[in-house]
Amino acid sequence: MATATDAETDTSAETLSATVIGASGFTGGELLRLLAGHPNFELAQATSREYANKTLGSVHPNLRGSDLRFSEPSDLESVDVLFAATPHGVSMEHIDSFREAADTVVDLSADFRLDTEAEYDEWYDGHSCPEYLDEAVYALPELTREELPGADLIAAGGCNATATLLGLSPLFDAGILFGSEQVVVDVKVGSSEGGASPSKASSHVERSGIVRPYAPTGHRHEAEIEGILGTSVSFSAHAVDMVRGASATCHVFPDSPVSKGDLWKAYREAYEDESFVRLVAGGGGVYRYPEPKAVAGTNYAEVGFELDPTNKRIVVFSAIDNLMKGSAGQAVHAANLALGFEETAGLEFEGLHPVGSP
C-alpha cells in the first residue's frame, strides 16, 4: 500500500469529483462550503429531496455565488468521493448505492462508527448491514491517523465524542489515567447540533438563553468514547445559547499525584505536531481556556487543562465547532488523509475575532 507521503506526492495536483448527500442540512451545507474552497475537489452533486432543482444559495446564503442546484438523492452520478451527511439510519440503508456511486465513502452519521453489531443493538436500534463495520475506519485523525490512508469507508467521529476524546486521550497515553478512575464529562453544545428540522424545543423563542440538560445520562456518544478509550465515562450534555460549538469539560481524578508540568508534557507530546489542535491553558487576556467561539468556522480544536491542588482533580477543557472539527471539517480532514492530499487542504480558515455567537 502507498504510504501517505507517496500519496501526497502523487495527488497534490489531482482534482477528484465529489457528491454530498444531505446537502441541504447543516453538516451538508458545511461540506459544500469546504469543497468549494478545496484545491483537490470539484463538487459534482449536492442532494436534497426537499429543495431539488433549487440553487444551493436558496438554502445556504453563503453559497449564493454558486450555479449548482440540488439534485435528488435517487439520481446519483459516478464520482470519486461521496460524503453522506444524513440522519442516523440513512447511510446504512443506502450504503450499497453509495459505494456503487463512489470509490470512497465518507459518512458523517453514526452508522459506521461503532465496531460491532452488538454495540448497535445496545445503543441504537440495531444495524442493517453489519458486514461493513469491520471495514469502516473511525476518523478522528489525531487518534486514528494511521488507519486512514487508502480507507474507502470512513466514519467521521461524532462532535461530542471528538471534543471529549481530544481532551482525555493524552491522559491515557501518558499513563496519568488507566481506565479505572471516575471520569465525568460535562458537555455544552450549540443549537446546530440538532440539525435543520424545526421543532418547538429548537425554536428561537424556547431555545434562547438556555442551560438545558438534554442528555443527562445515556447519550449515545458514550458508546463511541468507550470504543476508543476502552473505558466508560459519565457523560451529560447541556444545550446553551450558541449556534456552533461544542465544549467538553472533563473532571478526572488520577490515582497518583501529577504536576502542571506532567500535564503540559502529556498534552504537548500528544499534539505538538498536530495541525488542528491548539493548547490553551491559562495565560493572560480574555481567552485563557478553550472557547468554542475562538474556533468557530475552523477545523481547530482548542484543548486545555487546570489542576485542582486541593483534591488531585484535573479539569480538562476542549472546544470545537461541531460543524467543522465535529463533522464536516473532520470528514474533509479524513478524506485528505485517505486520498493523500495535503492534510490541511480546504481547511485553512483561521476564524474571526471579534465575533459574537457564531
Binding site: V189, S191, E193, G194, G195, S199, A201, S202, R212, Y214, A215, A237, A239
Partner: protein, 54 residues
C-alpha cells in the same frame, strides 16, 4: 386521585376520565396513561423517542 408511578405524588384526575387518555403528573411531569378508570390506574405512557432538545 391516583398515585404517580414515577414520583409517588398524588395526581388529581378530572371527572370524565377515559381509559387510554394521557395526562401528566403535576409534580414530576411524567406522562401517564390511564389504564383503568374505576378505580383509576395509571402507568407510564410509552415514551416517544423524540429529539426534544437537540
Amino acid at each position: 386521585m391516583a398515585e404517580c408511578v414515577e414520583c409517588g405524588a398524588d395526581v388529581a384526575l378530572h371527572d370524565d376520565l377515559e381509559a387510554g387518555e394521557i395526562i401528566d403528573c403535576g409534580t414530576c411531569g411524567v406522562e401517564l396513561e390511564v389504564i383503568d378508570v374505576n378505580p383509576p390506574v395509571l402507568d407510564r405512557a410509552p415514551e416517544l423517542e423524540e429529539d426534544w432538545g437537540e
